[in-house]
Amino acid sequence: MSATSSTIVSLPDQKTATLPKKNYINAEDGLMSWLTTGDHKRIAMLYLISITFFFLIGGIFAGLIRLELLTPQPDLVASDTYNKLFSMHGIVMVFLFLVPSVPATVGNFLIPIMIGAKDLAFPKINLLSWYLYLAGAGFILAAMILGGVDTGWTFTTPFSTHFSNTHVVTAGLGVFIAGFSSIFTGLNFIVTIHRMRAPGMTWFRMPLFVWSNYAASILMVLGTPVLAITLVLVVLERTIHIGVFDPTLGGDPLLFQHLFWFYSHPAVYIMILPGMGVISEVMSTFSRKRVFGYTAVAFSSVAIALFGFFVWAHHMFIMGVSNYSALVFSLLTMLVAVPSAIKVFNWAFTMQKGSITFETPMLYALAFIGLFTIGGLTGVFLGSLGMDIHLTETYFIVAHFHYVMVGGMLMAFLGGVHFWWPKMVGRMYPESLSKLSAVITFVGFNLTFMPQFILGYLGMPRRYHSYPAEYQVMNVLSTAGATVLGIGFLLPLIYLAWSLKYGAIAGNNPWQATGLEWQIQSPPLTENFVETPIVTQEAYDYEWLAHKTEQEVTTVG
């Protein structure tokens, strides 16, 4: 391979290369061996399949919503159906896709390997959390099939407790159960990271992906129980009218929103932090450089997790919270924006003096940086008290959180799946097709959500089934973008499935990356390592890698 080539991909000779004879995929046969497995890699694959299924369902809902909004009149579906569509879109995407997306799939697969462990601390609890996820998802599916739920993903009282006549209890229980899946995953990660690091793997030698998942795990373990309590109260209020939220029974209707956002704002960071971890890994690998300001990036994850707990009331600035609490929460919101800014600049400077190549994961990472910057800075609009009054509850907020959740998190997820795909299945995805789909996704995404910022400042409220005619042009653009975006999401599904059989054999380390996961075979053995690795190098130590490769060549040769 010449030094001037524009790729770092180094694959074994395809004529002689084969997949390793023994690996976690063929270690045992039969469906039962998968359904009763304790192997974190197999559980990660089970999660990957299930969340992809729910992403498709959520995506179909999104498509129908955009199709309805093509015209100002409510003409495609009835109002109740439309309300159910956006509610189910939100519930499925947030609780069944975004929250488990990176941690339960990529994280589950990689965290033990990255720190040199054989498995997570509690393999059976790991399997249990997948079953809990399935049980929760089953309830949510049941609610959908029985006729849906129309409260929005926020389950706002008193609408959800006294006025909605849809399947609130079923869907609420589904989210409640899925929440425990997320608590167990977080618990498992925390214990594993504390107790199972290989000799020499100190905290500051851990890859940043592990740091960010650690921070997200803390949020999962401390935040999710509050959501569980809140949902139980909603169910009790709805069934036996206990009067916690109902003002006529002496309850406080705002209390629900305090409790709900106490989880659901940190949940935003549960969703985005693991994605940030993926970006750190990808930026380093394709720049051939240590992540700029490793400690700053690691601590900014922890800072986000910490501050993330104290900003929830910024969802309620217009709801008559006291002026003092509005001030405090606005200030804290501004503070939580700073660690994100730190991360963005560190990623950009990771490229400085690097030797950069642009494989698909890198394209997704660059898209992430751009879109997340927009998503983050528009968050400052909303954190700024007076501006929030005009912008909240409009399409501006819809655009803002889709920039963070889709432009940020989903791009990171796709980047991560492409990056570790060769490790997971031992085969490469088709490079040019996947580059094309990354570009399509980026263009489609911006076309979908950029017009929504304009609509939001015009004042178009979110969750509207019909809208004034003067907003149509922007809505048509947005729907057109959603079509492009849909293609960008479908393509990977097709070619990744294709690559399972026809992809090039990847070898141990196609990207010549430094993480422990790249030093073992692809796909890995069930026990990950033949012998426990002893870590002597920092994370992202490319000189160590070059040295090691050299030695291997000399010993083998």
Binding site: P253, G320, L366, S384, Y471
Partner: protein, 348 residues
């Protein structure tokens, strides 16, 4: 390429009728837009900076040009720079936003009050002079208007984008917002908090009139009874005056001049009597017993509509002496129970 004239005409019409920026139709709007453009500027500068760094490095240090990477640990100076500068900018946004927030939510003392009741799925406005409207709101130009709002069922949110104002309308609690319209015309009213099936149908129009037109409108659409007059009738028909008569031996406290005063309750706490207190004291009297009185007042929860409560509150606000209260009482007693004895839900 040829575009058919019909299609061309359609496109032109479609594009010219579409909106890109909302009208500035209140005194608040220019203030809000100033902050908006400042934030937009920060976003564009930030995005350009990040974009320049990423694209610059991507071009300068791509593998073809820079085959070997130089390892760099980091830089405390740079870390400090991109911590402090964003922090400073965000703090400016915080202070500016807070100033705007107080400007939008603190009404000037001369504001004219209009009540708004939100219910699935309509807006009802009640003017002090007794004009009622549904899904419309007529206001004069150049006059600060305060809206005192309450929801009869679920959360709603009252938004007039062209005025840049919005406030949640909460069940069981008054919330307020104010504006001063600057340009006559009609503007959208939206409910922006999801409230059920016809959420997107809970829309209306605010019509801003010149003072002359507004005067014409008020005279042309009055029901003949002001809110306070409605309230007085309700006060008598529900028998409130039997206890709140202002006599020295009365079982309830005198209500003349109570609005705006400070009351001491039996539990020793001091409260300021405002609209919210009056409403709560009617619905939930056992929590609001004036010191020196027995807790004998029954609850009126579920017996008076929100509109009825507004009438009563307006009546109590206007009540300066007990003269008419006692007169009504004497008349109804001398008429020997000709007035209805049982309280009923009165819907104006």
């Amino acid at each position: 390429m040829h575009i058919s004239p019909v299609l061309w005409e359609f496109l032109v019409k479609w594009l010219t009728n579409s909106a890109l920026f909302p009208a500035e139709a209140s005194t608040i709007a220019p203030w809000a837009d100033a902050l908006y453009f400042f934030l937009l500027l920060i976003t564009i500068v930030g995005l350009t900076l990040v974009g320049t760094l990423v694209f610059g490095f991507a071009i300068r240090y791509r593998k073809e040009r820079n085959p070997v990477a130089t390892q760099i640990e980091g830089s405390t100076l740079l870390e400090a720079t991109w911590t402090i500068i964003p922090l400073a900018l965000f703090l400016i946004c915080f202070v500016w936003g807070a100033l705007l927030y107080f400007r939008i939510y603190n009404p000037p003392p001369n504001a004219m009050n209009i009540y708004v009741v939100g219910k699935q799925w309509m807006w009802k406005a009640e003017h002090p002079g007794g004009q009622h409207e549904i899904n419309t709101l007529h206001v004069p130009v150049g006059q600060p208007i305060q809206l005192t709002m309450i929801s009869q069922d679920v959360f709603h949110s009252f938004s007039i984008p062209d005025f840049r104002i919005k406030r949640e309308v909460i069940p069981g609690r008054y919330s307020t917002v104010w504006f001063e319209a600057t340009t006559p015309g009609t503007y959208h009213i939206f409910c922006t908090q999801y409230c059920g099936t016809k959420h997107s149908g809970m829309i209306g129009e605010v019509t801003v009139l010149t003072p002359e037109d507004y005067k014409k409108w008020t005279e042309g659409s009055t029901s003949g009874m002001s809110l306070a007059q409605n309230g007085e009738r309700l006060f008598a028909s529900m028998g409130c005056n039997a206890c709140h008569s202002g006599n020295s031996a009365a079982r309830g406290p005198s209500l003349a001049g109570v609005y705006g005063s400070k009351l001491t309750l039996t539990n020793g706490s001091q409260v300021l009597v405002n609209e919210a207190y009056l409403r709560d004291a009617i619905l939930n009297p056992s929590q609001h017993i004036t010191a020196g009185y027995a807790p004998i007042m029954p609850t009126y929860q579920g017996q008076i509509s929100e509109e009825g409560l507004i009438d009563l509150v307006e009546y109590l606000k206007s009540l300066k002496t007990n003269y008419r209260v006692q007169q009504t009482l004497t008349t109804s007693e001398s008429n020997n129970q000709s007035a209805p004895a049982t309280p009923e839900v009165v819907k104006p």
